[in-house]
């Protein structure tokens, strides 16, 4: 009887701690975001220039060819096939066409790498810890597709 209640109270405490921790972080995030937005507003012009410059650089140098490019690479249990959409010389979308042998929980975790790749406009990003195999598979498949797009 006693053990049951001790365990129960422990579990509630742990859950409360995690939820509390998350709430504090959310509040901090909001403050940070406000500060960041203000800073961004101030440097908006500089930022714009930087973007224009980088776009120029992209257009003249390593831009990708527009189109939908396919790539395949080894994941955890088998091949992962992806489609990379390139519009206006940059990566706009990445979708997983097939990943039959991957486990659901792992694959959905590994998909977090896709926004990272789109942000970086390159497949050279860190893999997702905990889902290393599947995210490495996605990364390598995108690399292959981008090689096609760069030709």
């Amino acid at each position: 009887m006693k053990t049951f209640w001790v365990r129960g109270v422990n579990l509630v405490l742990i859950a409360a701690l995690i939820i509390g921790y998350n709430t504090v972080l959310t509040l901090r995030d909001k403050d940070d975001q406000i500060a960041k937005l203000t800073a961004e507003l101030e440097s908006a012009n500089l930022y714009k220039q930087a973007v224009l410059q980088s776009q120029d650089a992209a257009a003249s140098g390593g831009a990708y060819t527009n189109g939908v490019w396919k790539g395949t690479a080894q994941g955890f249990g088998g091949d992962i096939q992806v489609e990379v959409t390139v519009e206006g010389g940059s990566i706009t979308d990445i979708s997983i066409v097939s990943a039959e042998k991957e486990d659901g929980a792992y694959l959905s975790m590994a998909e977090d790498i896709i926004p990272k790749i789109i942000d970086a406009q390159s497949a050279d990003v860190d893999t997702i810890s905990g889902a290393t195999f599947s995210s490495t598979g996605i990364k390598n498949a995108v690399t292959q597709a981008l090689e096609e797009a760069a030709k």
Partner: protein, 290 residues
């Protein structure tokens, strides 16, 4: 062919039916849903990695598997461990092969003395603590290739690129030797997920219990049969041992049929209740998209 009457089985037939049912459930889970235990534990690792990095803990797929399995265990006891965990089933198979070989060779099986096993039970908490601290410090990813679970999952997925996994392979082989000698060796002594489960406040409604007043004096058949050497709680008690895998082997060994795990009040519905629990778990897994 003689017909089998379900309601008038001999003791031996009943025992056989129970062990076949358990083996069938284990085999199906092993073949089709082998990744739940690593996914749930990846949830634990993820939470501590995020805490260590000062990042938010999101409800990722790993965390959902962890939460759902913990809730299931609170309600039904460690049924997942006893019937659905791929690594636990693997251990049962290794042990069964060892016992079978010993029988064929007419040799006695080696057994660890109870004093040793009692101490080894604490090992799993050490394993959990070490992994959790490594995650918190953010250095867990450097131990890639050390985990015997990774090696096992890769072999299960027919992925044989085991270069860089030497330590993991060695550990897996050592664990397999332990699994052979001692039933549920890994689950009882080393499993970090089991350590988490054993701390949960498990409800006493659907777990194994015995009617103590009808016991033969001095009989401890159930404790001897139990892979965790548990003296079962009495009916009506709130105690559920954290090391009970709900494997139900004690049910068939009891000479007085005192042990039950079905719905309270209805006797002899263990088979149906076992199937129901397995189906509920299956439903949860499908819902989670494992």
């Amino acid at each position: 062919m003689n017909k089998i009457d379900i309601h008038n089985l001999t003791k031996k037939q009943r025992r056989q039916m129970h062990s076949w049912l358990r083996a069938a459930i284990q085999l199906l889970y092993f073949l089709f849903l082998p990744s739940a235990y690593t996914a749930a534990f990846a949830g634990v690792k993820y939470i501590f990695t995020q805490l260590g990095a000062g990042e938010k803990i999101g409800l990722t797929s790993f965390v959902s598997v962890l939460i759902v399995l913990c809730l299931y265990t609170i309600v039904f006891g460690r049924f997942f461990c006893g019937f659905a965990c791929a690594f636990g089933s693997f251990g049962d198979a290794v042990h069964a092969i060892y016992v079978w070989v010993c029988k064929k060779m007419k040799k006695k099986t080696v057994k660890l003395p109870e004093k040793v096993t009692e101490k080894l039970t604490m090992m799993k908490y050490v394993v959990l603590a070490v992994i959790v601290i490594l995650c918190f410090k953010g250095v867990y990813s450097q131990t890639q290739g050390y985990s015997p679970w990774d090696v096992f999952s890769m072999l299960h997925a027919f992925n044989f690129k085991l270069g860089g996994y030497l330590l993991g392979v060695v550990l897996l082989v050592l664990i397999m030797i332990g699994m052979a000698v001692q039933e549920r060796f890994f689950c009882r002594f080393l499993c970090p997920m089991g350590a988490v489960f054993s701390w949960l406040p498990m409800l006493p409604f659907f777990t194994l219990r015995r009617e103590r007043e009808q016991c033969i004096k001095g009989c401890s058949a159930c404790t001897k049969q139990c892979p965790s050497d548990i003296g079962l709680p009495e009916a009506g008690s709130m105690n559920v041992s954290g090391d009970c895998f709900q494997c139900q082997k004690c049910i068939d060994t009891c000479p007085r049929a005192n042990i039950h795990c079905g719905l309270p009040g209805i006797k002899g519905n263990e088979v149906i209740f076992t199937i129901i629990r397995a189906l509920i778990l299956l439903g949860l897994f499908i819902w989670l998209g494992i």
